[in-house]
């Protein structure tokens, strides 16, 4: 059959047309071999643009389409659907990027135009060799895996569970709630974090559609979109969840009469026993025994008063790690953040001098369920009169994190208000710029200003101890351009947000992409903010980038909706880029079998040929590259297509 190609060049407003002379390119494309029609249009992805292509397919009898526009990632699907509507196999379309790969990265207009011509030429040469690709559909499992049970994971889990989907919620800590559970109040409304979080936590526990795995980690995710096989590793908490009634008498009866080990949940300012819960309203209300500090584990010779005091004998020192396997259709990563380690920037003296705290420690101190019962005290037990809050610790700093952590300014304002309110302290905020860009945020900033909090636009040079256990802050007042000093009783370091230390491992297990800092990467910063590059895997909350609670909740609900959209559609298309093996050419050498990472190719002894299971093939094409007899071809990436494309970018 005669090849009849239509070439469609998008202006993308001025994004392309501002650099590339689209008329000249269209004229050029119209003379390429087998091109029947070439057009340019303002927005090819718009309804009239799509209609134009469909009309041309019918009118000109087109059987190949080249769209020169943005990228395959952004609009490949759009134009494949267009082809389908026009009655063509969707894989007879080739997308050519003249925006991301040309107009946006090229300075000179003439060069950009020439580059566009060569890229389109390559697309036209390539599309000649396209063949129809048929895909099958697979059903989608209606269960969802959510990794991380902070406010993002909890929100997404509840949305999905309420819609009747079954959720496996996996949390690596012993208790759910994440960072939000540590907070006292939330800005700008000052509602107490517990009052809005704990009802959601208990809803998670009580919802029959949610299976909660705490003290557990996702070990491995196999399979593909719609059909993931998840392996979850449950660490032993040494208290049996099926027996424990949450009376906490084990904690009371522990041989350690007083808590004496650093509490992770209290960020180092509180103590716990070897058997502990994060806080009294913890979910699940089943204590964890820390083998590092428990005498029974360290010496094997404890009198086990915890066990004696337990009415249901739920304590089990022989508990072992457990592996659980579940099947899900979609995955939501809501793995959260950690705060910047303030000891890394030594000028602040954190960890060396007393009475210097981080914001998250201050949250624990302000929290009435925290280690001080909500009392703000200096280490000598007195009430601080003069407090400094230093913003941008570890943020907006080329040596640590160049980005703005987005939430710290508002946390600082909140703490300033609360410290004035509770102990009448004189508070000074050292800021770089105050960023209060949310609903009610600017109003809150103004309110705090009018309350009499001092604001110094300043860069802190160092914090040094001074007389009477006080601290001297040496800083440059950047409005006065002068170095000044200020003596205070207490310093709060407004630490920025960072990805977890093990973000690379987490990313690999979940098969996601990260930015260079380690934040999870979305498919598109504006149009697909909760979708990842891997199909069926969504992202939510501060794991993507620092964000406040309203944004986190909105994103979690969006991720839940995306997962639901996938599940309720009910099917996914099989991988289109799978390979085919030409029986006639296959010599049975089995090179392909040795390179296939997915065991998708097997050897048929009887016929002495290799055979592919397209259900397992993920379309990398490694086998096609090694097959010595060229018996293997990869759909959409055949040798002919790639040779033609390479030739096309080089010459006419």
């Amino acid at each position: 059959m005669e090849t009849r190609i239509g070439v469609y060049i998008c202006h993308c407003g001025t994004n392309i047309a501002g650099k590339v002379n689209v008329d000249e390119v269209r004229e050029y494309a119209s003379h390429l071999k087998n091109v029947v029609v070439a057009r340019n249009y303002m927005f090819m992805c718009s309804e009239p643009g799509q209609e134009m292509i469909i009309k041309d397919i019918k009118e000109y009898g087109l059987n190949r389409i080249v769209v020169a526009a943005c990228t395959e990632t952004l609009h490949g699907h759009t134009f494949r659907e267009v082809a389908k509507k026009g009655g063509l196999n969707p894989y007879l379309v080739q997308m050519v990027s003249i925006r991301e790969f040309d107009s946006w990265v090229t300075e000179d207009k003439v060069e950009a135009t020439e580059k566009a011509k060569s890229l389109i030429r390559a697309g036209v040469y390539r599309v000649n060799y396209h063949t129809p690709v048929e895909t099958t559909t697979y059903p989608v499992d209606s269960n969802v895996l959510i990794v991380g049970a902070g406010i993002a994971g909890i929100t997404a889990a509840l949305v999905l569970a309420d819609a009747g989907k079954h959720v496996y919620l996996v949390e690596r800590q012993g208790f759910i709630g994440g960072n939000m559970a540590k907070f006292d109040k939330t800005f700008p409304t000052l509602d107490c974090a517990s009052c809005i979080l704990t009802p959601k936590m208990s809803a998670v526990k009580n919802n029959p559609n949610i299976t909660l795995f705490t003290y557990s980690e996702v070990e491995k995710i196999d399979g593909f979109v719609g059909n993931f096989d998840v392996t979850i590793r449950k660490k032993p908490r040494y208290v049996r969840e099926d027996l424990c009634i949450g009376c906490l008498s084990c904690i009371e009866n522990c041989v350690y009469k007083e808590p004496r080990f650093m509490s992770e949940f209290d960020e180092g300012i509180g103590k716990r026993k070897p058997v502990y819960v994060s806080f009294p309203q913890a979910i699940p209300l089943v204590p964890v025994i820390d083998p590092e500090t428990c005498i029974q584990f360290r010496t094997g010779k404890c009198v086990q008063t915890c066990l004696k005091g337990c009415p249901t004998k739920a304590i089990d020192f022989s508990m072992k790690e457990e592996i659980v396997k579940v099947k899900v259709g979609a995955v939501i990563a809501a793995t959260g953040f950690k705060v910047f380690d303030a000891t890394r920037d030594t000028k602040y003296g954190f960890g060396r001098y007393p009475n210097i705290y981080t914001t998250i420690q201050m949250e624990r101190m302000l929290n009435s369920a925290g280690p001080t019962g909500g009392e703000i005290r200096l280490q000598d037990g007195s009430i601080p009169k003069e407090v400094a809050i230093i913003n941008c610790v570890g943020s907006r700093n080329e040596n640590f994190n160049a980005y703005c952590s987005r939430v710290c300014c508002m946390i600082g304002l909140k703490h300033a208000h609360m410290l004035r309110d509770s102990i009448g302290a004189n508070v000074t905020i050292f800021y770089t710029d105050i960023r209060a860009n949310g609903k009610g945020y600017e109003e809150f900033y103004r309110k705090v200003m009018l309350e009499g909090v001092n604001f110094v636009r300043g860069e802190v040079a160092s914090i040094i101890p001074s007389e009477n256990n006080r601290l001297t802050i040496v800083f440059e007042d950047t409005l006065l351009s002068r170095v000044r000093k200020k003596d205070v009783d207490m310093v709060i370091l407004n630490v920025g947000l960072e990805p977890h230390d093990d973000w690379e491992d987490v990313r690999k297990v979940l098969n996601l992409t990260c930015t260079k800092e380690g934040w999870l990467m979305e498919k598109h910063p504006k149009l697909a903010p909760v979708t990842s590059l891997s199909d069926g895997r969504f992202i939510a909350g501060a794991a993507q980038f620092p964000k406040d609670i309203p944004d986190t909740v909105a994103q979690a609900e969006a991720a839940a909706a995306e997962a639901m959209s996938l599940i309720d559609r009910g099917f996914v298309e099989s991988e289109p880029n799978v390979i085919r093996i030409d029986e006639e050419r296959c010599s049975g050498c089995r090179m392909c079998i040795s390179v296939c990472p997915f065991s998708a190719i097997t050897y048929n002894e009887e016929k002495n040929i290799a055979e592919v299971n397209t259900g397992l093939c993920k379309g990398c094409g490694a086998c096609a590259a090694v097959c010595p007899s060229k018996a293997i071809s990869q759909n959409n990436f055949t040798d002919e297509e790639l040779y033609a494309e390479i030739m096309g970018v080089l010459r006419e």
Binding site: S97, R99, E107, S118, A122, S534, F598, G621, A625
Partner: protein, 143 residues
């Protein structure tokens, strides 16, 4: 070497990492020499050494192949290693065939490393400009 020599460079990028970096370079409006023409494969493991020879034969002055960082970034487990093995052998073969192996560059650029992409492509274009045209005879005949 001509003052106005503009090298032709073919860049074979994997879909998951380096192509995404190239998209990010675009959305970040970074600029790099227009000499670079990107061809995508799903994985560098798909890259057949013959693609590179074909590019040189068709007038490329330089070829760069880039994929996901080893050891574990590859979307298909270890396609990057599979390519790398071929690359080492191919470089030696190129030398024997009289093509300066510097004309074939191998990189690992992740989806977030748009700045690295810009740097590498700018640098490589300059290197090839210094090396001058390959002037490899183009044999007639299509694909």
């Amino acid at each position: 070497m001509s003052e106005n020599f503009e090298p032709k460079i073919v860049a074979i990028f994997c879909y998951w990492c380096t192509s995404q970096a190239a998209e990010l370079a675009g959305t970040s409006r970074m600029t790099y020499p227009p000499n670079v023409r990107i061809v995508k494969t799903m994985c560098t493991g798909r890259v057949d050494p013959q693609f590179i020879l074909w590019a040189f034969r068709n007038g490329a002055d330089g070829v760069i192949v880039s994929g996901c960082h080893p050891p574990n970034d590859c979307h298909y487990e270890d396609g990057n290693f599979k390519w790398f093995r071929k690359y080492v052998l191919l470089s030696r073969t190129l030398e024997q065939a009289g093509i300066d192996p510097k004309r074939l560059r191998q990189e690992w650029i992740s989806a977030s490393e748009a700045d690295k992409l810009k740097k590498v492509l700018t640098e490589f274009t300059e290197e090839i400009r210094q090396l001058g045209p390959l002037n490899h005879t183009i044999r007639e005949g299509g694909v």
